[in-house]
């Protein structure tokens, strides 16, 4: 996973286990044979999707970034505690006015074909990202750059017209080899199916629809990875993947809540696998169309939140494998405020009181009425099993306070094109995948309410706008934190969404792999330190 990818709050994305955070939990397991770290063996992992394109600037899918994340490096990356650290850049300086970032590149790094890595590669990657002829989805963050220069082979400098905090993170984008790509049409490059990077694993082969194989890079600047081979098997069906895991065909996969809670607690499974659990970087919400008079009164939205029992949803839908969401930031991250002023917890009596205040009175048939109209609307969502169940629980709870919600489930593309983009919806259940940087400009700023933009609920709040702008224009974490904490209080008060839950990522990994240290970043961050003791190696 590249930082560029993490940066994007891509909706409906995979809950990849590498980018989650919080307090991991490890279940006890039977004693393994153990032994000192040893080189060798292979890690076979399963993926529902197949990579599309292994030049990272051209692809948007999680499978492609899983592979390119191991083959390439960025200038910076997030460490296990989700702090930015140098990757191909040994260090960097931000100028006093926050406008210029100077990266000092690592010496002695080589591309997999033996060529040295220099600032020319970084400059090329920047140029290809902003080239109008490149069909990339990532150009916007780089178009902010005023000048980019490479004064010497180990220095790269970018200048921005105004300070832009998320800029630093954008340099986590995978750096491409200039000597193989410069002057060529990137969309027809052989690197699309045969990438050459600087990363811990060297690309070996890709058999379409079956697997991608990588081999460890003996000259990797951080040291040779212990596991010699990384095999990425494409198994499009989740049940098949689970059986492959149980039969030993793959070594790791993300479990579903029901698999984690109900199907993997046998002594046999626990002796062969370690299960991990930590909050995923995502949340699910109930969003209100704020253009509709029905939802313009914030007391109505507050009442809806009070009427919904979030804990019940987590138990019913996630088998308890998740936590209540209160706002748009990741629980445990620095931007997350642990206790907002008033989160309108489950309280049907309060809901009724708020609705009464807003002028709704209970009709004879148990449905709220105002100005002769009943309180009824439709919740729209796409075909996603967890969201459908969530909608049903929400529907029941709302009915108890006299609100009638109908549920309409539809295919993703028509949902987005015909309803979200056109604003023809009342209520939706959707989710966001969160990036590491807390900048929420695209989803919450009032300038982002245009067609196809992401503030599709039309949330407009002058104070939130100002705080979002302030937060992205300073590199000072304390100042940013103050902005984001205030935003969380405002959002809790306004309830433009009813934030529902943050699911847990639940990977299971074969217990022959040692050296896995769960951290806020999940478990995948130190893959190169994972090892299989000689006695337990199977491949």
């Amino acid at each position: 996973m590249t930082l560029g990818r993490r940066l994007a709050l891509v909706l409906f994305a995979f809950l990849a286990f590498g980018c989650a955070q919080g307090t991991p939990e490890q279940k006890p397991r039977a004693a393994a044979k153990g032994g000192p770290p040893a080189y060798g063996d292979a890690l076979v992992t399963g993926s529902i999707g197949e990579p599309s394109n292994l030049i990272p600037v051209l692809s948007t899918d999680s499978a492609s970034s899983d592979i390119s994340g191991l083959v390439y490096n960025g200038l910076v990356r997030y460490d296990k505690d989700l702090k930015l650290e140098g990757d191909l850049a040994q260090s960097w300086d931000v100028s006093r006015d926050g406008l210029t970032i100077t990266f000092h590149l690592r010496h002695g790094v080589k591309w997999h074909d033996g060529e040295p890595f220099t600032s020319r590669d970084v400059l090329y990657t920047y140029k290809v990202l902003v080239d109008p002829k490149t069909p990339t989805a990532y150009s916007d963050a780089y178009k902010q750059v005023k000048t980019a220069e490479a004064p010497d082979p180990y220095t790269f400098r970018v200048t921005y017209p105004k300070p832009f905090a998320p800029a630093l993170e954008s340099w986590g984008m995978n750096i491409l080899p200039a000597h193989l790509l410069e002057g060529k049409d990137i969309t027809k490059s052989p690197l699309i199916r045969h990438p050459v990077g600087t990363g811990p694993y060297i690309f070996k082969e890709w058999i379409t629809g079956q697997k991608v194989t990588l081999e460890s890079n003996p000259d990797y600047w951080e040291g040779r990875p212990y596991i010699s081979k990384y095999v990425y098997r494409i198994i499009p069906d989740a049940s098949t993947m689970y059986m492959e895991l149980k039969s030993g065909g793959i070594d790791e996969m993300p479990l579903s809540p029901v698999q984690y809670q109900r199907q993997t607690n046998t002594p046999e499974f626990l002796s062969r696998f370690n299960k991990y659990r930590y909050p995923a970087s995502a949340y699910t919400y109930l969003g209100y169309n704020l253009r509709l008079p029905l939802f313009q009164d914030k007391r109505v939205r507050q009442a809806m939140t009070c009427a919904i029992n979030k804990e019940e949803i987590i138990q019913g839908v996630l088998f308890g494998m998740g936590q209540i969401a209160h706002g748009p930031f990741k629980p445990g991250s620095w931007a997350y405020k642990p206790k907002v002023n008033d989160d309108f917890g489950y309280d049907p009596a309060r809901a009724l009181a708020l609705l009464k205040e807003a002028g709704w009175v209970m009709g004879k048939d148990g449905i709220l009425v105002k100005d002769g109209k009943q309180f009824a609307f439709t919740i729209m969502l796409n075909q996603n099993d967890q969201r459908v169940k969530t909608a049903q629980i929400v529907q029941q709870r709302l009915r108890k306070v006299g609100i009638v919600a109908k549920i309409r489930v539809m295919e993703w593309a028509s949902f987005i094109t015909n309803f979200i983009d056109t604003g023809k919806f009342e209520c939706v259940i959707l989710g966001w995948t969160l990036g590491q940087d807390p900048d929420i400009y695209d989803v919450w700023h009032s300038s982002k309410t245009g067609p196809k933009e992401l503030n599709f609920i039309h949330f407009k709040n002058a104070e939130v706008d100002r705080l979002i702008e302030e937060g992205r224009e300073t590199f000072d974490i304390e100042k940013r934190k103050a902005c984001y904490w205030r935003i969380q209080d405002i959002l809790a008060e306004e309830q433009p969404y009813t934030f529902l839950y943050v699911p847990d990522a639940l990977p299971a990994v074969s217990s022959r792999f040692h050296g896995i240290v769960p951290a806020p970043a999940g478990i995948g961050y130190n893959l190169i330190k994972w090892y299989v003791p000689k006695a337990e190696q199977v491949y």
Binding site: A8, L9, A137, T208, Q210, T240, D442, V443, G450
Partner: protein, 326 residues
């Protein structure tokens, strides 16, 4: 016969144009565009970037112009490049997948015919006995059971519980280092479940066809004559009756031709087999117009060709039809 053949061959082209026009319009009517499917709801993409991508794919042009461009390329046998982010030529993507689907389907088809024909004959010769009834129950069971469910059960039994067979995919880890026969055995083990279950599911149609066709032939006068003159029952059935009863079955073979390159999405997904079904499904979900159109056109062409071959083989096999036309 020659004129008939030429006429039939020429008819393929207007049919293809009709089919392509309809499919082109239908796929473009589906909500969402390729660009949308790649970047919708992703915050870091501005309207300008989106428009740039649309222009790159030529989606900003009117629909009839897009169709014109596509047809003019097709006339030069250029199926275009995929709208997927790999931008590979459509023909390359299809060529990569056809061998797997084709060989799986051919094996399954051979198995199906080898099993269904004897089963059909057996059912016909033992009409209304316990044998016939058990066969009916067996083949209809295969027909009625959802394949994906049966597949999952078998995978669990043979793969997880008994550990006899691999669960999914086509090759085991490290199979490329095995000697040729070891490699072949590994592949065969991977194919047992998918081919076996696919065949089980398709036995019903063909074997019932065979049974009724056999029964019809057995009730004809010349069979009675053969029996009356004392020909052994074995000879009556396998020499006199079978030949004629096989005719409609041969036609069915012709109709199976286009099916050979089309894979089943559900099946391929469950067994992780990289075939045409998955490719087409992914193409549709990503609104990858050139890929979808490419597969449909090849499929349509093969269907038309299959129909033609079926008609021709029928004419060759049945003298009555042949002489009727002449």
């Amino acid at each position: 016969m020659g004129r008939y053949l030429i006429k039939r061959l020429l008819m393929i082209f207007p049919m293809l144009i009709g089919i392509s026009l309809i499919t082109f319009v239908v796929i473009h009517l589906a909500p969402g565009e390729p660009v949308e499917m790649q970047v919708s709801m992703s915050p870091k993409i501005s309207a300008a970037t989106r428009e740039k991508l649309r222009e790159y794919y030529g989606l900003n042009k009117p629909l009839h112009v897009q169709y014109g461009i596509w047809v003019s390329h097709l006339a030069r046998l250029d199926f275009g490049r995929s709208f997927g982010s790999d931008h590979r030529p459509v023909t390359e993507k299809i060529a990569e997948r056809i061998p797997v689907t084709l060989s799986l389907n051919v094996i399954a088809l051979i198995l199906e015919f080898c099993l269904a024909i004897p089963i059909g004959i057996l059912a016909a010769t033992h009409r209304d006995t316990l044998v016939d009834r058990s066969i009916s129950v067996f083949v209809f069971l295969g027909f009625a059971v959802p394949t994906f469910w049966l597949a999952l059960l078998c995978m669990y039994l043979f793969g997880v519980k008994l550990n006899w067979l691999p669960i999914s995919g086509l090759h085991s880890m490290g199979s490329d280092k095995l000697p040729f026969f070891g490699w072949l055995w590994d592949l065969a083990k991977h194919l047992i479940l998918p081919v076996g279950i696919a065949t089980f599911g398709s036995l019903a149609g063909l074997s019932r066809y065979m049974r009724s066709s056999m029964l019809e032939v057995l009730s004809q006068d010349y069979i009675t004559t053969a029996r009356a003159k004392g020909v052994k029952e074995r000879l009556v059935i396998y020499k006199h009756a079978l030949k004629n009863a096989m005719l409609p079955v041969i036609t069915l073979l012709g109709f199976s031709l286009p099916g050979l390159i089309g894979g089943s999405v559900i099946f391929e997904t469950i067994f992780a087999i990289p075939g045409m079904g998955q490719l087409f499904y992914q193409g549709v979900m990503a609104r990858d117009y050139p890929l979808v159109m490419g597969i449909l056109i090849i499929g349509a062409f093969l269907t038309l060709l299959g129909n033609l071959l079926a008609d021709l083989s029928y004419a060759f096999a049945d003298p009555r039809i042949r002489h009727g036309r002449e």
